[in-house]
Amino acid sequence: MSGMKERRELEETEKLEQIQAIEADAGSVEITELSGDKDETYRVLELALEAGRILLRNGGEIFRVEETVWRICENFGVKGLDTFVLSNGIFVAANYEGRTIYARMRHVPLSGAHLGIVAEVNALSREIASGKVGLEEAFLRLEEIKKIQQHPLWLHTLASGMGAGGFCYIMGATVAESGATFFIGVFLHLFMTLLRKSCSSKVLLNTLGGVFITVLAICGSHFLPFGFQIDKMITGAIMPLVPGVAFVNAIRDIADNDILSGTVRMVDAILVFVYIAVGAGAVLTVYQNLMGGTLV
């Protein structure tokens, strides 16, 4: 037994050595062939990949990411470029005289949207294309863009209330109900902000969000003496949880023939809907059984 093991180990080390030899060989060939502009080409591709990653992470569409990568590379004179962008990953490869000199992929997890950053990167890519910004300056600008913060909490909270209240009214509620939904939206945002600190699971977050708004709506309808309708308040209040950017980006990706990424984003959006509805539905079922009343 031990003999076999030793032999296997020996074979493995031999293989490793061979691989290392091949790699070293390839490396030396590469360097002799493009010693001069290799570094710069690498920097350009790094810049393009990073810009693409930031765009994709913050809710840019697939075609925008591809366009940005190509624009940057073309402007700095990189040829033989090939890109493949998915909703959660970017692949970039560059050829030089038939040899691959750069091939990298970045994983970009599906996450929240920050449209301000998308707008900034877009502006930067335009400026690069018109030749106003050099390579190093572009890196500095990109670092600055990465540091852009979200809007302050009070503004987000207010916006969440505005969204909930505004859409509650146009779904056919009264102004008073819409006012109550404004406060549900405000509390929902504070609740979600607290929850996000300790939990990152999308399933749990959205289900608990659904539970929270339903409980608040039931409380509002029961303990306030105005006779508010529960279902109107809930349909308004779920709006801040609805993944709008994912939905709109899914449509745009499908319109641009990026069916794969579009489908992934659409499924992501629909699943969030399902989680919210499960949370809300669970509370409503319990409530209905306890109170015996009819709802919706």
Binding site: E61, A164, M239, I251, A255, A277
Partner: protein, 158 residues
Amino acid sequence: MTLLLNMLFAGTGALGFTILYNAKPETYVCAWLTGAIGWMFYYIPAQYIDAGAASFLSAAAVAFLSRTFAARKKCPMTIFLIAGIFPIVPGAGVYYTMYYLVTDQLRAAAMKGITSMKVAFAIVLGIVVILSIPKKWFFVSNWRRKDVEKEYIAPSRK
């Protein structure tokens, strides 16, 4: 009066989501307008025609407005598109579908579900129709002089 209130609330709701997604303050006025006008294109036709057709009209109007504003403000059209699409997204429909499913009212669930799907498809179609218009048509300069800068299409897309 109801019409005005509807416009006001739709715009305010749309603006809320623009802020929630961290768009820049310069875009707020345009986002408000997109939300308000887009909802009018749903609210008024929906009294005469079916919800799917009204959604199509509204989505097309929103997409058109978004592209115009995006060309003016030189920023991604997604910002305005989200503001305008949010009021007509069948969030309530999907919610009712799920609610009926959870409470085992399958017939009602199927009806609500198919209506929501219809609206969703109408929105997709409305946006796609406007998206297929060439980009340069949305720049005012295109209609004034002949030598406009060419639209950039990444070579991988050609």
